[in-house]
């Protein structure tokens, strides 16, 4: 099988590892480009959400590169993501591609399908080997998440942003190439230390909570590299939703029927007392936590027409206005223009700075393009 899957930030690294360990040929789709976006929007339903279109673009490019097996996630609603796979499959077949699509549904409610899909993917490997491959892939995912979290903390403080970007990319490549738990640990630690050793300013940066829908949070091509831009503007980005934590809560805990004890969901209850699909309740909860923790602002990103986030947005706006907390919402899709986006982001940072009493911009911030 020549396996492919859609991009989601750096998730191609653990996914490639997982399937390669099981002996499959893996065709990672080319990085999301203007071409990917055009392909997805040309063939995708006009009013569908952005992640569906980008995933469709990834699949088309991977099929062109020779892939014959598509791996896609499923879901049980109420968010639209649960039905992406069926719509994408219909579209790709009508375009004349021949392939097999393996949909990984959440194990709760679809246990047999999950076992069947895993059985197909493991080929001649034993279940033990499958578990080992999965655990190695998860270790890589966690290494990537840790690295990313460090980069968010360091970027506003580091003097030379270009060196950091370079180190970060080299670290991802090294994690991708690691062939055992041991080498993975060595390279991850080495890069963490190298990054921490970069010369930093002592100025305490503004701190912003980045909240919203998980795909838009994790995929820089979809969120116009918002984290990097904020970091370069001298803002520390605090983000709680990561793919590894999402997997733990939505797949493992739900499957074991353990009660969710997430602090963001608890915090949201007085304002949004119910799961609304996607990450709506999280977005509200994290806004409330951001006020409580004394952060300087909240940035909300989600795909245009994402219902759970729109429900959250109305509630967040009222709350933020009450608490005098700067809040900016970006609903993004293929029509988002980068220049306008940058301007709004810079204006928002300005607002936070004034509110914070910093008034004028520092030379350093001016240098970096405000």
């Amino acid at each position: 099988m020549k396996i492919t899957f859609p991009h989601l930030g750096y998730c191609s690294i653990p996914l490639r590892t997982l399937f390669a360990e099981l002996g499959h040929t893996v065709i990672v789709p080319p990085p999301i480009s203007q071409k990917t976006i055009s392909l997805g929007t040309l063939h995708g339903p006009e009013f569908a959400c952005y992640p569906l279109k980008l995933g469709l673009g990834n699949f088309i490019e991977a099929l062109e590169a020779g892939a014959d097996t598509l791996i896609m996630g499923g879901g049980i609603g109420p968010c639209r993501f649960g039905y992406y796979a069926q719509v994408q499959q219909d579209i790709l077949r009508s375009l004349g591609y021949e392939f097999e699509m393996i949909v990984i549904e959440p194990p709760l409610g679809h246990f047999r399908q999950v076992v069947a899909a895993a059985g197909r993917l493991k080929q001649k490997n034993s279940w033990m080997q499958l578990a080992q491959a999965a655990s190695f892939a998860l270790a890589k995912l966690r290494a990537c998440d840790d690295l990313h979290q460090l980069s968010l903390k360091i970027r506003p403080r580091v003097e030379n942003k270009a060196v950091l970007a370079n180190l970060y990319n080299r670290a991802l490549t090294a994690i991708d190439a690691a062939d055992s738990h041991r080498t993975l640990k060595t390279v991850a630690n080495r890069f963490q230390e190298n990054i921490k050793a970069l010369p930093q300013t002592r100025v305490e940066p503004l701190k912003v909570a980045l909240v919203g829908e998980v795909y838009l949070l994790a995929e820089p091509a979809a969120n116009l590299a918002i984290e990097e831009k904020l970091g370069n503007l001298g803002v520390e980005v605090i983000r709680h939703v990561y793919i590894s934590s999402w997997l733990k809560v939505n797949i493992l805990l739900d499957f074991l029927r353990l009660r969710r004890k997430e602090s963001a969901e608890q915090a949201a209850r007085p304002y949004l007392n119910c799961f609304v699909g996607g990450h709506g309740q999280h977005s509200v909860g994290e806004t409330i936590q951001a006020v409580r923790d004394g952060l300087d602002g909240v940035v909300h990103v989600y795909p245009f027409t994402c219902t759970p986030e729109i429900v959250a947005r109305g509630i967040m706006r009222t709350y933020a206005a009450e608490k005098n907390m700067p809040l900016i919402c970006f609903s993004l899709d293929e029509h988002s223009a980068e220049a306008g986006f940058n301007t709004r982001l810079e204006a928002f940072v300005d607002v936070m700075q004034r509110k914070n009493g910093q008034g004028e911009l520092t030379d350093e911030q001016a240098l970096h393009g405000i």
Partner: protein, 307 residues
């Protein structure tokens, strides 16, 4: 004690049961009048731009009720009408959305409705939320039962329409959410206009459960939105049985579930030989444009016969 019920969203699905349900309380029921320009404009000022049209309309109705000095709004938190299926995510957060944009002046009565829970738990939920206003707990149980049978009778009566033999006029299935199909203001009297053009119309409610289940069998994966599944089921049934001369799909702009449902239906109909038209509604739609499109569609149905 006055409780307001907005004539919006699921009102159009459940109005037979609604007043029966509230008979058990001491409250006076106020139902807002039909949607009009003023209500929509009020709704627009209260909502985020990206919220779909039906929610903007709902907010308009809520405002109207607030001006009529009601003490509470009856707005259940609709989670699920059947096992493992949901309605759209906006219904889950709706009471919170209304609370957040209204301020704290009006109480919002929002018992959670999750029919996969079973009757007893639903009853307890009703007791909890309407407690202080109830005449008697038993009265609630009786009104539960009365509401249920009234709703069922209403649905059966609607479904009987389908069984009637087709006359000489063209038959068109107008499929969409009840709040888009039966609110004549936001769809520019779509059903009436079609009827004056000599077309017999059927809505999702006119299809029997059996017909919808038969149609839904053609889905590659079962749909987890109850109303979306009904729409697809009805559309696929029309296709299987050649039951109508044409299908019109009505969706609101930005509706999450409908964006995928319309795609699924359009793909299946593209090769099928039954004409399909899809209409997208929002507050910028134009009545004249819509009527022109309807005329063109019905003309085409007649033209197909002639050729």
């Amino acid at each position: 004690m006055r409780i307001g019920i907005p004539r919006a969203l699921l009102y159009y699905n459940f109005y037979p049961a609604l007043s029966r349900l509230l008979e058990a309380t001491k409250a006076e029921i106020v139902i807002s009048s039909e949607t009009n320009k003023q209500k929509l404009e009020q709704g627009l000022t209260l909502c985020e731009d990206e919220v779909c049209l039906p929610v903007k309309v709902l907010m308009g109705h809520v405002m109207t009720l607030a001006e009529q000095n009601v003490d509470g709004l009856f707005m259940p938190r609709m989670i699920s009408l059947e096992r493992s299926r949901y309605i759209c995510p906006k219904f889950l957060g709706l009471p919170d959305m209304v609370r957040s944009s209204l301020g704290k002046d009006i109480q919002v009565l929002s018992p959670t409705v999750n029919l996969s829970w079973g009757k007893l738990r639903m009853f307890r939920e009703g007791l909890k939320s309407a407690g202080p206003w109830l005449r008697h707990p038993l009265a609630l149980w009786r009104s539960f039962r009365a509401a249920e049978s009234e709703q069922l009778a209403h649905q059966q009566q609607l479904a009987a329409a389908f069984a009637q033999p087709q006359g000489t006029s063209k038959r068109v299935a107008v499929l969409g959410h009840a709040y888009n199909i039966f609110d004549g203001y936001i769809n520019y009297d779509l059903l009436k206009n079609l009827q004056t053009m000599g077309v017999e119309t059927l809505t999702v409610e006119n299809f029997s459960r059996a017909a919808i289940e038969e149609g839904a069998r053609d889905l590659s994966k079962d749909l987890f939105w109850s109303y979306g599944r009904d729409i697809v089921g009805a559309a696929f049934y029309c296709l299987r049985r050649r039951a109508v001369d044409g299908v019109i799909i009505v969706a609101s702009f930005g509706c999450g579930p409908d964006s995928l449902i319309t795609e699924i239906i359009e793909r299946r109909f593209s090769q099928a030989g039954i004409p399909l038209m899809s209409i997208v509604l929002d507050e910028h739609s134009s009545g004249t444009g819509l009527i022109t499109r309807l005329e063109a569609f019905t003309d085409m149905l007649h033209w197909r016969d002639a050729n």
